[in-house]
């Protein structure tokens, strides 16, 4: 089984990379082939909102940069982990730059899911999604927004399962490991 960690931690918070490393260690201990993509080191241009990935080169973004490979890796995985500092309740710009460029993974055509309009699937199976938000301190509202965002993304991107967890900057490695393990258990990745 393959896992991909999309590490959206920015330049000024590199000390938080240890959280990504714990996630990778945990997944590898479960015998998952795991890749940790440090997005701040990858040049990805902003999505231009042209919909070329839907109607010009279906499934492939018109911009020829590293985002194409990131997108290929996302759909080639059984599990993706969004690791991000919780930024006003949402994702960091580093994580979001990759996600904005991945909408070619779904179809432009509309369908209804639970009475609400979304886009149809392009691929038969999309990976499970684990959101790991890093917070400086407890903030209920930001945590609520983050968990809702992960759930909404999972609907729109047709992830086969989703879970979200919050870790704190000052938590020990063991505490972080426990939170991540709980998230993986919720997804059925860990028994």
């Amino acid at each position: 089984m393959k896992a991909l960690v999309l590490n959206g931690i920015g330049d000024r918070a590199q000390h938080l990379d240890r959280i990504g490393e714990r996630i990778v260690q945990e997944l590898r201990s479960l015998r998952w082939k795991t890749e940790n993509l440090i997005l701040r080191d990858i040049e990805i241009a902003p999505c231009m909102g042209c919909f070329g990935c839907w109607v010009q080169t279906p499934g492939v973004c018109l911009i020829d940069d590293a985002a194409r490979e990131v997108t290929r890796k996302i759909i080639g995985s059984d599990l993706i982990v969004y690791l991000t500092p919780i930024t006003f309740g949402g994702y960091s710009s580093e994580l979001k730059k990759a996600l904005d460029r991945s909408i070619g993974l779904i179809s432009p055509f509309f369908t209804k899911i639970n009475g609400e309009v979304h886009h149809r699937k392009r691929y038969a199976q999309a990976p499970k999604l684990l959101g790991v938000g890093v917070a400086h301190e407890p903030d209920e509202e930001s945590a609520r927004i983050f968990k809702t965002l992960i759930g909404r993304n999972a609907i729109n991107m047709h992830n086969s399962a989703d879970a979200a967890c919050i870790v704190y900057e000052d938590q020990s490695a063991t505490e972080i490991e426990e939170v991540v393990q709980a998230g993986l258990s919720e997804l059925g990745v860990r028994s």
């Binding site: 902003p46 109607v55 499934g59 710009s93 927004i145 993304n153």
Partner: protein, 224 residues
Amino acid sequence: MNSEGNRVLLLVGSPKAPGKSVSEALGSYVIEKMEARGWSSESIFIRASLQSDEGRAALLEGVKASDLIILSFPLYVDSLPAPVIRAMELISALCCKKNARLAVIANSGFPEAQHNKVAMSICQRFAHASGLEWVGGLALGMGGALSGQRLEEQGGMVGKIIKALDLAVDALVNGESVPDEAIRLMAKPLIPGWMYTTIGNFGWRREAKRHGVRKKLGDRPYQR
């Protein structure tokens, strides 16, 4: 409220070129109405401004000098476009003008305006983190039915939008929050939902045909 000397900044969150985005059309309408009420204004395109040190500096200066910031953006993957989040990260690290306020206009390509809800919450948290007073947001669905043309030139369909924006302007120039009636009007479907999705699905096929890929629309280029 005395409008003399008040300054409004429009931040356009769409990555599209000037004159091409719904975000700009909606935001510019508000700005023009506020200018007519004696406010001075500035418009900044976020994606372009982040491409250079000078652009970033101008963005931050613009924010620091404003009494009211209007952020108008398209919904991207349930949230704000990456460059807008980058701008927020930069802005939150500086001191905004005392008593400066933030209002937002979100537009989504889905028929239901409720898709914008998470993005609205993010904007509210951003305001809180940046010392800006949150004065509310307008959320629009069916953004795909609109264009980058001036709002007044987009026909009768946008009547409710114009009414919503007019109500918002009235409130904002008086130092009040975006009224509930404006929020309600903005969220009202422009056309029936089934019609929007039918036209939308037809539009995807037409565009694909134009590019010679009509039969490739369902391709899976990254299939394992």
